[in-house]
């Protein structure tokens, strides 16, 4: 047995790394973290018409997300209730119905059991089909095209679960009049590391960029003098970090939305649509909130880099990364092409930024095979005691620098509260009490 409060002391910035390796901790995470949190399932544009479906995962559980004939979305476990066979074996597509290949039980798009072969002879017409449909995801929420789901009937509403993070999420989700669309197809790959390394980095870690990604800009910029100047400027730029409810967002403050990361064709589109973006999310937010983000536990995106992903856990030592490129739905083809190619080149599994992250996390996980390594405390104290509020009135707890681990500490605090088995009202109450104990200058 493990004691969560011995393993992590977020307020002191102390982490026992067995939380990244212990199979018992992992099984508890599936139950107490992933089955209780709001998880990203799909974007509207992945399932455009009645019968469109994608198979995704809620942690390790395969889930079908299906567009209904009335335009609504249903999600249910991709598991037949007879012997547990996967009902649908394609990653995505358009279906009229789903039929289990094992014994032929048939389900409609809503996930209701509608056909049992030889129902009269084999079941004597006694089976109650309404009672034997696949397990439905009981709560779904569509936020501006992003469909989230949770198994937990007692979880807070999606808006309360996000809290102030909603404002940072909307810097992406609410950015354009016509909304977002995804480049068709997820890019999927496997990294032998614990899911928390990835989730935490996207919540809280601007600090790794100059070192981990030292070579990425070399690929993008040919002239060494321009490269050096760019690196100096981006490291020296002022920045902010937000933390709350286990979520995190960090960013450097930029004087303009352009240049974007996607080159002149997308820059031109952004300039032409600048007023639209300012009108929707405000000039301050459009310029500032451009960086790394995690919605606890495992949905992350990089606003300006046009990439979002889910870190699906696969045991304590492995993740599947599912990543998508997002685009303004009504952008012209040249702008779309610019975004698509720049994101593929930087943040796919072959991307000049992305490959470095996988390398770090894989090595950490390897080192943690060691007994001594697993009991060696990690330092998550960056910025501890210096969590001063920014002066620019962004919502929630915001520090006046992007080089801090406030959001990592917040993530492990939420993780520990859930892992302790606290109820949602207890977690909310404790968060409130913790905030009240903080010095005035640090408070939201």
């Amino acid at each position: 047995m493990f004691d969560v409060n011995e393993l992590v002391q977020p307020e002191q910035g102390l982490i026992n790394p067995s939380i990244y390796t212990d199979p018992e901790v992992y099984q508890a995470e599936l139950e107490r973290v992933f089955a209780r949190s709001w998880l990203f399932l799909a974007h509207d544009t992945q399932i455009p018409k009645p019968g469109s479906f994608v198979q995704t995962y809620m942690a390790e559980d395969p889930v079908l997300v299906v567009r209904q004939r009335d335009g609504s979305v249903r999600a249910f476990l991709n598991q037949c209730r007879h012997r547990g066979m996967r009902i649908c074996r394609a990653d995505e597509g358009v279906a009229r119905a789903f039929t289990c290949t094992y014994h032929g039980w048939g389900y409609n798009l809503a996930g209701e059991l509608v056909n049992v072969p030889m129902q009269d002879r084999a079941y004597h017409d006694e089976i109650d089909k309404a009672a034997w449909g696949p397990t439905q995801v009981p709560r779904l929420h569509n936020h501006r095209g992003f469909v989230f789901g949770t198994w937990d009937e007692s979880a807070p509403s999606f808006e309360d679960y996000l809290g102030d993070m909603l404002w940072y999420f909307d810097a992406l989700a609410d950015r354009y009049d016509a909304g977002l669309t995804l480049v068709p197809g997820a890019t999927k790959w496997v990294i032998d590391c614990n899911w928390k390394f990835a989730a935490e980095q996207f919540a809280s870690d601007m600090y790794h960029v100059p070192s981990s990604h030292a070579s990425a800009l070399v690929a993008l910029i040919e002239d060494p003098a321009i490269l050096a100047e760019f690196q100096q400027q981006s490291t020296a730029a002022p920045g902010r970090q937000y933390a709350g409810n286990g979520h995190g967002s960090g960013f450097g403050l930029r004087p303009d939305m352009v240049p974007t990361q996607a080159g002149p064709d997308f820059d031109a589109w952004v300039v032409a649509n600048r007023e639209q973006i300012y009108r929707r999310i405000g000039e301050q937010r459009a310029l500032a909130v451009n960086g790394h983000n995690t919605v606890f536990p495992n949905f992350s995106w990089l606003t300006i880099n046009n990439t979002m992903r889910v870190w699906h856990p696969r045991g304590p030592g492995q993740i599947e990364v599912w990543s998508w490129t997002y685009l303004p739905k009504d952008a012209d083809e040249r702008a779309k092409r610019a975004v698509r190619t720049s994101t593929i080149r930087t943040f796919s599994a072959a991307g000049v930024f992305e490959t470095d992250d996988g390398e770090n996390w894989t090595e950490i996980q390897q080192v943690l095979r060691g007994h001594q390594a697993r009991r060696t405390t990690f330092n998550a104290q960056m910025g501890l005691g210096h969590e001063r509020r920014g002066t620019d009135s962004m919502p929630g707890r915001v520090t006046d620098d992007m080089y801090t681990e406030m959001a990592a500490r917040g993530m492990y605090r939420r993780w520990a509260d859930l892992m302790s088995g606290l109820s949602w009202p207890e977690i909310t109450e404790r968060d409130k009490a913790r905030q009240e104990r903080e010095p005035e200058a640090h408070r939201a």
Binding site: G93, L220, I344
Partner: protein, 183 residues
């Protein structure tokens, strides 16, 4: 971008044995340059208008099989032009490209070479590949699939330029932490 990001619709004819020999020799040379990590020499094999592309793939039902490989507007692992390939090589030489520093050890097996001549005088060459990668102490990855190249004759050695490369892996979820090498 020409439409040869997908296999061309032009009429294909067989090549003679001498041409087949030249093409096989060229492809083995290319594999050797990569396995020997002579990336700058490898870049010289590409024409200036190269499109180097590795689209993603999804598991689909037989009925939707034509949607299995992502199209030119879909998701991809690589979608590079000459300038970006050059940038990748510059990065590999930087000494700070941590997914290749220390470098991977690779072994490229290029087989089932099927060259055809197009009406344009160019060659379309389909090959099967199996690329093995060993990294660090005991990390091991394997990449396998099919490549379709468009080759153009050049007067000087090694006899061809690669003008298009489309790489299709047989995996949908990549069972590797990255593709920090070239395929």
């Amino acid at each position: 971008m020409s439409d040869t990001t997908t296999p061309t619709q032009q009429r294909h004819t067989d090549v003679d044995l001498a041409t087949r020999y030249d093409i096989e020799r060229f492809l083995y040379l290319e594999a050797e340059l990569l396995d020997d990590q002579k990336f700058e020499d490898w870049l010289e094999l590409f024409d200036d208008d190269i499109h180097y592309w590795l689209p993603t793939r999804t598991t689909r039902t037989v009925r939707e099989r034509d949607l299995e490989i992502a199209g030119p507007d879909g998701a991809a692992f690589f979608d590079d032009d000459k300038a970006f390939l050059t940038g990748r090589v510059r990065r590999l030489a930087s000494g700070r490209s941590w997914s290749e520093e220390p470098p991977s050890r690779t072994r490229r097996l290029i087989t089932n070479i099927r060259p055809t001549r197009l009406e344009s005088g160019e060659f379309e060459v389909r090959v099967n590949f199996h690329v093995l990668r060993s990294r660090a102490e005991r990390h091991h990855d394997t990449f396998f699939g099919e490549r379709t190249d468009l080759l153009r004759r050049i007067p000087q050695e090694p006899g061809f330029h690669i003008a298009r490369r489309r790489i299709v892996l047989d995996t949908t979820t990549l069972l590797a932490p990255s593709i920090s090498i070239f395929l």
